[in-house]
C-alpha cells in the first residue's frame, strides 16, 4: 500500500484479522417480510386507487374553496381560539401537577416496593392506551358538551405521556446521590425529593412544554366530538360545507401551532 504514513507503519502481513460478520440475509428477509405485511394491510382495508381517480372532480372544487380563506370570519373565531388555548394551558398545568408524584411511583429507581410499582405501571399503561379523542367522546357523554370535558380528556392524555417520559428519565438517572441520601438516614420519599427531583427537574419542565405543544393540536381535534374549543367551530362550519371559513380556521391552527411550538422548543433548548 503506498502513502501509508511514516515508513514502517504497515506491519508484515500474516496477523489474523477478524472476518467481517455477515448481516445480509437477515436484512433481506426483514425487508421482504415488511413488504408482505404492507401489501396484506392494503388488501385488508380495501385501498381503491381507481375510485380516487374517479372522484377527483369533487375534490378539486373543495380544494379550490379551501385555498381561499374568508378573513372576514376571523372575529367570530376569536372566542373559540382563546378557549382552545385556555384548555391547553389548564390541562397542561393540572396534568403536570398530578404526573410528578406518579412518575416517582412509576420508576424502578425511585419506588422500592415491587407490587406498588407494578400496580402503578399497569394503571398508567391503561391510561396511555386510550386515545385522547376517545376520552373526549366518553367525557362529553358524562359531563356534557363544553370545555370542561375537553380539559378532563387532555389531563388524562397528559398524565399518560408525562408519567411515561419522566419515569423513564428517572430510570436513567445516576443513583449515587440517592444512595448517599438514604445513607444519611433519609426515608425513600425524602431521599427522592432531595437527590432525584433536582436531577430530573429540567427534563420534567421540558416534557411539560412538549405536552403543551401536543395539547394545542389535540384540543382542536377533541372539539370535533363536542369537547370545546376550535373543534366545535370546525364541526359547525364543516357540516354546512362552508369551506372558506373552515380554511381560515385551519390557517389559524397552523399559525398557532407553529408559533407556540417554536417558542416552546426554544425554551426547551434553554432548559436541557
Amino acid at each position: 500500500m503506498s502513502g501509508a504514513g511514516a515508513p514502517g507503519f504497515m506491519l508484515a502481513p500474516g496477523t489474523a484479522r477478524p472476518i467481517k460478520p455477515r448481516r445480509g440475509t437477515m436484512t433481506g428477509a426483514a425487508v421482504v417480510l415488511l413488504a408482505a405485511i404492507t401489501v396484506w394491510a392494503g388488501i385488508g382495508v380495501q385501498v381503491d386507487l381507481p375510485a380516487i381517480a374517479a372522484n377527483w372532480r369533487n375534490a378539486t372544487s373543495n380544494i379550490v374553496q379551501l385555498l381561499q380563506p374568508d378573513y372576514g370570519f376571523f372575529p367570530k373565531t376569536v372566542p373559540a381560539l382563546l378557549e382552545t388555548l385556555q384548555m391547553a394551558v389548564i390541562a397542561t398545568a393540572v396534568g403536570a401537577a398530578i404526573s410528578l408524584p406518579l412518575a416517582f411511583l412509576a420508576s424502578r429507581a425511585t419506588n422500592p416496593k415491587p407490587k406498588l410499582l407494578a400496580g402503578v405501571r399497569f394503571v398508567m399503561n391503561m391510561v396511555r392506551s386510550v386515545p385522547d379523542i376517545l376520552y373526549a367522546a366518553i367525557l362529553v357523554a358524562v359531563v356534557g358538551v363544553g370545555a370542561l370535558s375537553g380539559i378532563m380528556a387532555l389531563v388524562l392524555f397528559n398524565i399518560g405521556i408525562i408519567v411515561k417520559l419522566v419515569s423513564e428519565s428517572l430510570d436513567g438517572e445516576d443513583l449515587g446521590a440517592q444512595e448517599a441520601a438514604l445513607a444519611t438516614g433519609g426515608s425513600w420519599p425524602k431521599a427522592n425529593r432531595v437527590a432525584m427531583l433536582p436531577q430530573i427537574l429540567p427534563s420534567f419542565a421540558s416534557q411539560v412544554l412538549y405536552t403543551f405543544e401536543l395539547n394545542i393540536r389535540a384540543s382542536t381535534v377533541i372539539g370535533l366530538v363536542g369537547a370545546g374549543g376550535l373543534g366545535i367551530l370546525i364541526d359547525n362550519v364543516r357540516s354546512f360545507f362552508r369551506y372558506h371559513e373552515l380554511s381560515l380556521i385551519i390557517l389559524e391552527i397552523l399559525v398557532l401551532v407553529l408559533v407556540l411550538e417554536s417558542a416552546s422548543s426554544w425554551l426547551r433548548k434553554k432548559l436541557v
Binding site: G176, A177, E179, A180, A181, L182, A183, T184, G185, G186, S187, P189, K190, A191, R193, V194, A195, M196, P198, Q199, L201, P202
Partner: protein, 269 residues
C-alpha cells in the same frame, strides 16, 4: 458539633451475596471510639462490603455488628429496619468514591441532605429547611473551607471540592462514625492529600470514628492510626501503620508490590 465517636464491634460477621460470592468471612474486630482505621486489600477483597455493613447498606448474613448502641444482626435474628435503621444511619456519615452529590442543585442543598433524618417530611418536601439546619450545614462547609461555594451548583465544582462537600454533608449529620469508601480514588495526588488531611483533622478535632478504604498503601499508612488488611474476605493484618512493611503488604496482596499500589511518584512506600 460536640458529639464524640462511637465504638464499632464486629462479632463473627460473614456476608454471602445472593450469587454465592463470599464478601466477608468470620470477621471479628473491635474499633474503639475516635480511632482512624484504614482498610487495605485488593479489589474484591471485601473492603467495600466491610464499610457498607456498618450502616446496613449491605445486610450481613451471620454474626453481629454493634455501632454505639445500635445492633445489626445476621439473617434469622431481629433485623434493624424502618425508623430504627434510619436512626443508625443518621449517626453514621458516608463518603463515596464518586462523591454522590445531586449535581444539579446547590452545594448547600447537598450538605442539607445530612439533616434529612431530623427534618420533618413537609419541610423536606417544600425545601423549607429549619434555620438551625442551615446554620449547621454552613458551619460544616466552613470546616472543610468551602463555605464561599454554598450557593453554587455542585456540578460547577472540581472533584476535590465536590468530595469536600460530601464530607461536609456527613458533618451536617453530626455523626459518631464516618465511613469512607475509596474517597480519593477519583482524585489527583495533591487533592488526595487535601481530602485525607480533612478526614484526619475531623477525626482528631471532633473525635469521630473514621473507617476509610484506601487503594494506595502509602496513603493508608500515612493517615491511619491502625491498618486492617483484607484478603478474600478475611482479616490478614491488623496493627499499627508503622508495623506494616513491604512483606506485610505482600501478604495482604498475595503478590509483590508495584508502582500502581502507591500514590507517590517515587513508587515506594
Amino acid at each position: 458539633m460536640e458529639r464524640t465517636g462511637a465504638d464499632i464491634r464486629f462479632h463473627d460477621v460473614s456476608v454471602t451475596y445472593p450469587n454465592g460470592f463470599t464478601g466477608l468471612k468470620d470477621i471479628n474486630l473491635n474499633i474503639p471510639a475516635g480511632e482512624m482505621v484504614g482498610i487495605v486489600g485488593l479489589s474484591g477483597a471485601g473492603k467495600s462490603t466491610l464499610v457498607r455493613t456498618i450502616n446496613g447498606l449491605v445486610p450481613i448474613t451471620s454474626g453481629q455488628i454493634t455501632v454505639g448502641e445500635h445492633q445489626l444482626n445476621g439473617r434469622g435474628s431481629a433485623q434493624l429496619r424502618g425508623r430504627e435503621l434510619r436512626e443508625l444511619r443518621s449517626n453514621v456519615g458516608m463518603v463515596f468514591q464518586s462523591f454522590n452529590l445531586a449535581k444539579r442543585t446547590t452545594v448547600i442543598n447537598n450538605v442539607l441532605m445530612g439533616r434529612l433524618y431530623h427534618s420533618p417530611a413537609w419541610r423536606t418536601l417544600l425545601g423549607a429547611w429549619r434555620d438551625d439546619d442551615v446554620e449547621l450545614a454552613m458551619s460544616a462547609l466552613e470546616r472543610v473551607e468551602i463555605v464561599s461555594k454554598a450557593y453554587e451548583k455542585a456540578s460547577s465544582l472540581s472533584g476535590g471540592q465536590q468530595q469536600r462537600v460530601a464530607i461536609a454533608r456527613t458533618l451536617a449529620q453530626r455523626p459518631m462514625v464516618i465511613l469512607a469508601d475509596e474517597p480519593v480514588a477519583s482524585l489527583d495526588p495533591p487533592t488526595s492529600h487535601v481530602v485525607m488531611r480533612d478526614l484526619q483533622r475531623i477525626n482528631a478535632e471532633l473525635g469521630i470514628t473514621v473507617v476509610v478504604n484506601l487503594h494506595f498503601l502509602d496513603l493508608a499508612r500515612r493517615y491511619s492510626d491502625r491498618l486492617i488488611g483484607l484478603r478474600s474476605g478475611e482479616v490478614v493484618f491488623d496493627g499499627a501503620g508503622a508495623d506494616a512493611d513491604e512483606s506485610v503488604f505482600e501478604n495482604i496482596y498475595g503478590r509483590s508490590l508495584t508502582a500502581e499500589d502507591v500514590l507517590s511518584s517515587k513508587g515506594t512506600l
